[in-house]
């Protein structure tokens, strides 16, 4: 074999082995375990912390108010839908307090008149004209409206 071909061949071998070495070092261990992705990513995403614990988590302390809610029109509502995520509060009930919505605008997010809201699905009220001086919760108990 002529010398210039030998040199070219050696250069080729070096480039290919460098590529293979880099590929081996840079590819994560679990890549290709289940498909063309890092297999460990599935477990990493699955272990994210949960923030909304559900009504079952609320009822152990707030049983009377949950029972009251479940007997009224708001029975389908989750506690955390209005009060916010409860995981921290359940762990540290003294320090981590939840949100107590009390404004007319908050109730209006569901109950203000909008032609797009199905009439049968929800009671609607003109929040500008209906006793504008009062907060809704003065007259309506949100847990038993």
């Amino acid at each position: 074999m002529p010398l210039h071909l030998k040199r070219l061949l050696m250069l080729g071998v070096i480039i290919v082995s460098l590529f293979l070495l880099l590929k081996h070092v840079l590819t994560p261990d679990s890549f290709g375990q289940y498909g063309h992705f890092r297999g460990k990513a599935i477990d990493e995403i699955a272990t994210h912390p949960i923030k909304f614990i559900g009504n079952k988590g609320c009822v152990s302390c707030h049983d009377t108010i949950v029972t009251m809610k479940n007997e009224g029109y708001h029975s389908d509502l989750s506690c955390e839908g209005c009060h916010g995520a409860g995981a921290l509060h359940a762990d540290h009930p003294k320090t981590e307090k939840l949100f107590k919505p009390a404004t007319r605008e908050f109730c209006g997010k569901c109950h203000s008149i909008n032609k797009a809201r199905p009439e049968k699905a929800i009671t609607q009220q003109n929040i500008k004209d209906h006793h504008p001086e009062k907060n809704c919760i003065k007259c309506h108990n949100p847990h038993q409206p």
Binding site: A41, A46, G108, R117
Partner: protein
């Protein structure tokens, strides 16, 4: 000259014709390849195959789904970053269509068009369709986004290089670029919750139970029954993405 004669001999002609006819007959017994059917075929024989159903007739546009999603998944609070949001479609009597989504619906909707001008108006909650043939997964150059065996499309935030190609590829606009992590982020169908047997946060907190997710493999699951008994439709079916987000009572105007 002699060579050419042999290659065109009667014997060779019959031989080749026989092979061709045999192949045609054999191929005709195979099932037809239909791309649309392929996308709808249920996968994962070992466990659940997740789908989503949203009932537009029940949605009241309160935006609780969008709000709880942001809290549960640490999505930046500023507008324009959404994994889940709500749009209000208004079809006016003059035929024009107006779509609004102020802050994804989180602060609620105010009707801006007077009743007299409205032909029809409704809310459309949107989120990742968790497609069975996701265009976003197909374009990722590094394999940072993938479909799990349960049919959930996820992003590996440690492996994403932030090229944003998938954001362009998603026909439903369901991906965004995370401003702090500098990677692409999207709905995981609350993978961390469904793996523990819970429902996604948006579904648990929906006050009218307008949305549900569940196992499409199980014919007795609530979602399978919902899809069987309602007039369900997916978004942009002509794109053949294998979308698994089924809407009840979806207007053709919704894109």
């Amino acid at each position: 000259m002699t060579e050419r004669k042999t290659s065109l001999s009667r014997r060779n002609f019959f031989k080749n014709a026989g092979i061709a006819a045999g192949t045609l007959v054999a191929a005709s017994t195979l099932p037809a390849f239909d791309t649309v059917l392929y996308a709808a075929v249920k996968r994962n024989t070992k466990g659940p195959w997740y789908g989503i159903a949203i009932d537009i007739e029940k949605c009241i546009g309160c935006g609780t789904c969008a709000k709880t999603c942001k809290i549960e998944n640490d999505v930046p609070q500023e507008p324009f970053f959404f994994r889940s949001w709500v749009e209000q479609y208004t079809i006016k009597k003059d035929g024009s269509i107006k779509v609004v989504s102020p802050n994804g619906g989180i602060d609620g909707f105010t009707q801006t068009i007077p009743d007299e001008e409205i032909e029809k108006t409704f809310f459309v909650p949107k989120m990742c369709n968790h497609c069975a043939k996701s265009p976003c997964v197909q374009v990722c150059p590094v394999g940072a986004t993938f479909e799990t065996e349960e049919g959930v499309v996820l992003v590996d935030e440690k492996y994403c290089i932030g090229c944003k190609y998938c954001i362009q590829a998603c026909p439903y606009g369901c991906r965004y670029f995370h401003p702090d992590k500098h990677v692409v982020d999207k709905c995981t169908l609350c993978f961390h919750r469904i793996k523990k047997g819970m429902n996604p946060a948006c579904m648990d907190n929906c006050p009218t139970k307008a949305r549900m997710s569940g196992d499409l493999n199980d014919p007795e699951s609530a979602i399978s029954k919902f899809i069987r008994t309602r007039n369900v439709y997916v978004l942009k079916p002509h794109l053949n993405t294998g979308s698994k987000l089924y809407y009840n009572a979806l207007n053709q105007e919704v894109r």
